[in-house]
């Protein structure tokens, strides 16, 4: 009977969609063991977000208002106390930059074993078994933790976002607990990369560009019209990010983001295994590359062998025409 607490990741004015994947994990873990789950809304906007979080079938939504920008050290002790006081067995979070930073620290305070970035859950006679991806997506393994308390981060692309359940969970405030170490860290600010496009990890269509784009201008003039024609999110290879063609947070792959959209277009990307690790779960993969031997062919469903500077503008027009028709 697993009792699960989900740590919600909040935005300035709401809930990060990845949180819904963590909730859906919690519902599975609770459902499979005859247990239950609650959600913790923590941050400056905790109270406002609580009413939204109350509609996903949690027993309770706990709130902890912590002002100021995000500093993990100011959250971990509060979360650990909430887990202890509520006698939870599992504490879960999404495996975003937020969850990856925060969860292990909470785990240590609770002496909880850690299953990071899980891609699946098996419930085996009441025991939770976590599927994890390793070796840049080339191996899957099942992790069984021997600790009483367990800390789990959930890969967003592998758990369908929870749907609203109609009811409203009770909302309850918990104590905010100080941690001495927090006084040694000051939040300075966030340099936000603004984009009007859908978020990379949430989009149905992702168009990624590689080193072959050759410049930031080409990303803007050649690739972006296609991205917009498809209402897609834009992604990139590490080579393109490193060269400064696009911001780093567009990187798809082992070091960057893991995406699994319905349609993924890899434009001028060779398909190094570290890139594949971030996109091979996509439903349909299209490669545009002038080298038909490029390793991206191992995962592509469709491969247009062509110079991208000819193919992409033509494809943009064709997509526009197809959508109009």
């Amino acid at each position: 009977m697993a009792k699960v607490l989900v740590i919600a990741e909040l935005t300035e004015d709401g809930v990060r969609k990845a949180t819904l994947s963590a909730i859906s994990f919690a519902a599975q873990a609770a459902g499979g063991t005859g247990g239950s789950f609650d959600v913790l809304s923590i941050g400056a906007a905790a109270t406002g977000a609580a009413s939204k979080l109350a509609s996903y079938g949690a027993g309770k939504v706990l709130t902890a208002t912590v002002d100021g920008g995000y500093v993990g050290e100011r959250y971990a002790a509060t979360i650990a106390a909430a887990v202890k006081n509520g006698a939870y067995d599992v504490v879960a979070c999404c495996a975003t930059a937020y969850g990856k930073d925060l969860l292990p620290r909470v785990a240590v305070k609770l002496e909880a074993g850690i299953a990071s970035d899980i891609v699946g859950l098996n419930v085996d006679g009441g025991t939770l078994k976590y599927r994890r991806s390793m070796y840049a997506g080339n191996v899957l393994g099942t992790l069984t933790l021997s600790t009483a308390l367990q800390a789990v981060s959930v890969r967003q692309s592998e758990f369908e976002p929870a749907a609203e359940s109609g009811g409203a969970s009770a909302v309850e405030a918990v104590d905010v607990v100080d941690d001495a170490v927090a006084s040694r860290i000051r939040f300075v600010g966030v340099d936000v990369v603004k984009s009007e496009r859908p978020e990379l990890t949430e989009a149905d269509v992702v168009v990624s560009g590689g080193r072959a784009l050759k410049s930031a201008e080409n990303f803007t003039n050649v690739l972006e019209p296609l991205v917009d024609a498809l209402d897609a999110a834009m992604g990139a290879s590490r080579a393109a990010c490193d060269a400064g063609y696009v911001p780093n947070d567009l990187q798809v792959g082992q070091t960057g983001k893991v995406v699994a959209p319905k349609l993924y277009l890899a434009v001028g990307i060779s398909g190094a295994i570290q890139h594949l690790a971030g996109m091979k779960g996509s439903k349909t993969i299209v490669a545009i590359n002038k080298d038909k031997e490029a390793p991206i062919a191992q995962v592509a469903d469709y491969f247009l062998v062509s110079d991208l500077f000819e193919a992409v503008p033509a494809l943009t027009e064709a997509v526009k025409a197809a959508k109009a028709g």
């Binding site: 930073d101 991806s133 040694r184 000051r186 966030v190 340099d191 990890t201 349609l263 491969f303 494809l315």
Partner: protein, 279 residues
């Protein structure tokens, strides 16, 4: 400053698609694959070198200690980092199978307690296990601040305070931290202007590269004489008791068939509309 860099050896990350699974899914078999330093730790060592040098005079401003937990063969990994410029090594002899993030972090804590470094700088994840947890666990065990996934790192007072730009979804989150601290890094930290130490001229641009600096011949010769201290995990008072067990290793399901090569944009659009039904 005195910087501790934990580092792990991993089976060749560029050939991770060549690993196999033992009968019955009991283990990952990487036979025939060379061991390489975890690239994330390579970036950690490079960042440590940049923090601890005057790049215009090649003068060293402190000490870098490389620590690895693993079998005797991990000495080779340590040696590679010594050849890049780290000063000395520590090998904590342990069986790979008995290590998990907690065991490594507890061992590292014992070494930090003994060495009292100003900073622990390390990869944000290992390229094989990909837990990404050791840094955070270590920081928590030490009661030190953590900067996870630093893209930029600046100090101007020998590391007493650190200005860190962390990679987060949607941008860079800037923190100012009173050391000592644990900082974990990804590849951004080796971008030309990512590390500044207040001594190397601010306009000094390190070369664009995918990896840390290459060891010079001189570096390799010097590394042979640099000390590597060896100890048993038990000597650190740490039990080799992982918190979990892996079973049922499998290959991820292969993607459906092979690529359909298309000749024209028109053909691609047609297939996406009628076959894949994604347009």
């Amino acid at each position: 400053m005195k910087i501790l860099v934990p580092c792990k050896r991993v089976s060749d990350p560029d050939n991770a698609n060549k690993v196999k699974i033992a009968e019955g899914g009991t283990a990952v078999v990487a036979d025939g694959l060379e061991f390489k330093p975890n690239p994330f730790d390579d970036w950690g060592v490079e960042a440590a070198l940049r923090l601890n040098e005057n790049a215009s005079t090649n003068e060293s401003l402190g000490e870098i200690i490389v620590v690895s937990f693993g079998p005797a063969e991990a000495t080779q990994t340590i040696r590679q980092f010594l050849a890049m410029g780290a000063d000395r090594g520590v090998l904590v002899k342990s069986e790979d199978a008995t290590l998990d993030s907690y065991v490594v972090a507890k061992g590292l804590k014992a070494i930090v307690d003994k060495e009292q470094p100003d900073l622990v700088l390390m990869g944000k994840q290992s390229a094989d296990g990909e837990s990404g947890a050791v840094g955070a666990i270590l920081a928590e065990l030490l009661g030190w601040p953590l900067a996870f996934s630093a893209a930029t790192l600046k100090t101007s007072d020998g590391g007493k305070t650190l200005e860190v730009g962390r990679e987060v979804d949607g941008g860079i989150l800037n923190l100012s931290i009173d050391g000592p601290a644990v900082v974990t890094v990804g590849d951004r930290i080796i971008a030309p202007g990512a590390v500044k130490n207040g001594v190397t001229p601010d306009d000094h641009a390190y070369p664009e590269s995918d990896s840390g600096r290459y060891a010079s011949l001189k570096g390799i010769m010097k590394a042979k004489k640099k000390p590597i201290e060896e100890m048993e995990l038990s000597a650190l008072g740490v039990e080799a008791a992982p918190t979990g067990d892996y079973s049922d290793f499998t290959m991820p399901p292969a993607r459906s068939g092979t690529a359909t090569f298309v000749e024209s944009v028109q053909e691609l659009v047609e297939k996406l509309q009628t076959e894949a039904k994604v347009l």
